[in-house]
Symmetry: C2
Subunit: 402 residues, 2 copies
């Protein structure tokens, strides 16, 4: 019998309880052991809730109970979640989390404490919600050198973009709709500014390339300023605008990571990743391209990934999963502006696009603005090179094409 | 130091050697141990091959060497591969394989020997080549009851279908081209008759639902008789014809499995799975739909999955992976004809399709044959019901729509 405590009885925490209850048989069979919930930590009261008897308000009850072998942290953020996670590991308890912000900011440190304590710190649910991605990268692709990871990592912005593309809603209207549907929070900053995708690409890059990449090393552009006209131009060439996180392993061993809107072509598998779904591509030297797709958020999908990690802890109480990476720093990160792509841009008509950007293909749509030229470059250009020219040309928008 | 033997120095076997050599650093780091190849078993000679000194012709050398802890079986088939696998397990050696035929036919027995011996029998490479799918289902989705698994499981037929759809090649020409490209074997029966996809859906169903499903329990239809006119009709309604394997977990606990061509609609992620690629969808009660995509065959992708299993064995020499299922039989399998879908069919014009099949939508294409009606049913109909009617109507073709 494995005793578990959950820290935080919010959306994910209560989802974990729901999955553990609903699929108890399957879970016990897979864990080859019964998993029993002993405590739920939350500062709030939940009168009438069937799990109310398990509620505690004092973390030290859990910390000091040697029976608790696995702790699920679903508090979120880097405040008490960080403190409690450390204390759980130091008290000899395995920790499972869905907290991407904490893993992106302190993953390396927490993994190294877990290593010294011979414990597991698992976070399958931190990227892609319920989509299996952390374990496939760390185990199934263990025989590959990974070149690149990229994808649609944030369901909220993908939902907003899907509405803009399919129905032609302007950004603000699509955002309001996402909020009404419960897909966007009342303060949607972390999603629409790209911070959430940034944390996830940090985790994927750290795991794939072996050195910690921190959020402040990842230039991040969201979708708040996205103009419907760019959506239309993209459509006119069979593309969709998608917010991608991308991490490229350069030949010198450094990682170039960023988050930005891209034009995605119709042949790409990401093209059909719509609404709140996520799609993550991984490129390895033996496997080639693999993609993982599914619900990137939501109570039950995320909870199912958390519970899978709890099962894994239960099966490996005496054997550590080799989920690990080394400390990073300036020497392990490179400026993504050096990456070469084809580009889409929109500049004032007074600019001679061909003279400035080389061979370009001009685009048109029904609602084209008379004072602007929209075009794509036919050759790859680095971000550094195009930025200077775009600045000189007073560009309205510019996105990489993938 | 973990010593490994490879049985069979063919495409996959030599790929395993290539990946182990090329990515030795990454592999040692992930295995937290050096992995050394000690023997390669093959009846052939490979003069001048740098690995010739490791070649042995007598299996008992490997069987009787206590230093060998992991054996890679890439012989294929159910003859000596079955015998050698059993003897390796009985001799206390972990076994890793890419042999789908053996796992589909004898997986339950071999897993139970491994269990009794406290050893691992791993086969990530048996389905989807290098695509992570076995471990994600058994571990990452361990907290889910899985309802359904389906997908494009055979790269050869998907390549042929892609050529038929994109270029309008007839089946025989597309097959010859696939053979010239090395994507189809000289005897392509196992691929084009659907046997290969059948073995893979057996493995996926056994793993997902917990009881062994054998190939003879899976009605299997290939693509040999596929007519270009059906490809055209499919196109006219925005669909593509894809060969799918499908396994549905019925409410009574039985599995209904089959392999057949389907019409796949444009919104489906499988729609963009082209050429030799595979795409596998898994539907769970907590996670919803997840898809796994990548190179479903090929030397290095398949080898990379084999080597990942070797690494996993090396890390779990004293801890079994809980990859297991129970024996199956007539009581665990159900007739897939009871599954309800919308259908596409083509019948003689003399048949009153609407009278026979209920509300239908008639299709047209440029090359429509004057004596035929092609239509889709607008409502779901079971396979049992439609089969009788199609027989009565002397149907030319009928496929489910997914």
């Amino acid at each position: 019998m494995i005793k578990v405590a959950i820290l935080g009885f919010g959306t994910v925490g209560s989802g974990v309880v729901e999955v553990m209850t609903k699929n108890a048989d399957k879970i016990a069979r897979n864990a080859a052991n019964e998993i029993q919930l002993k405590y739920i930590l939350d500062v709030r009261d939940f009168p009438g809730n069937p799990y109310a008897p398990l509620l505690v308000k004092d973390f030290s009850v859990i910390e000091n109970d040697p029976e608790v072998q696995v702790v699920v942290e679903t508090i979120g953020g880097t405040g008490v979640a960080y403190d409690f996670t450390k204390r759980c590991l130091l008290a000899g308890k395995n920790v499972v989390t869905s907290n991407k912000e904490l893993v992106a900011s302190h993953g390396c440190e927490l993994l190294s404490i877990a290593r010294r304590q011979n414990l597991n710190y698992l976070f399958e649910a931190s990227v892609g919600g319920g989509i299996p991605i952390i374990r496939p990268i760390s185990q199934c692709l263990a025989a590959n050198e990974i070149y690149e990871v990229y994808g649609i990592l944030n369901g909220t912005t993908n939902y907003i973009l899907t509405q803009m593309i399919k129905i032609g809603l302007p950004f603000e209207t699509a955002l309001r709709q996402a909020q009404e549907m419960g897909y966007a929070e009342q303060d949607p900053t972390a999603d629409i500014e790209g911070h959430d995708a940034c944390r996830k690409i940090c985790i994927l890059a750290s795991l794939s390339f072996g050195r910690h990449i921190y959020p402040d090393q990842v230039p991040t552009q969201g979708i708040r300023d996205l103009d419907l006209i760019d959506v239309e131009y993209a459509k006119s060439m069979g593309c969709k605008i998608k917010l991608l996180g991308r991490a490229v392993h350069l030949p010198d061993g450094k990682a170039a990571c960023y988050v930005a809107p891209h034009l995605v072509e119709a042949g790409s598998l990401l093209w059909n990743v719509e609404d709140v779904f996520n799609g993550i591509m991984v490129r390895g030297n033996a496997i080639g391209d693999v993609m993982f797709y599914g619900a990137g958020a939501g109570k039950l999908p995320t909870a199912s990934a958390v519970v899978a990690d709890v099962i894994d802890c239960a099966k490996h109480l005496s054997a550590r999963k080799y989920l690990d990476w080394e400390e990073g720093g300036a020497q392990s990160s490179a400026d993504p502006a050096q990456l070469v792509s084809r580009w889409y841009a929109r500049v004032p008509k007074s600019v001679d696009a061909a003279a400035l950007f080389g061979d370009v293909k001009c685009l048109s749509t029904e609602n084209a603005r008379p004072d602007e030229t929209a075009f794509i470059t036919t050759q790859g250009v680095s971000g550094t090179e195009i930025s200077e020219k775009l600045k000189a040309a007073n560009a309205k928008a510019a996105f990489r094409i993938l």
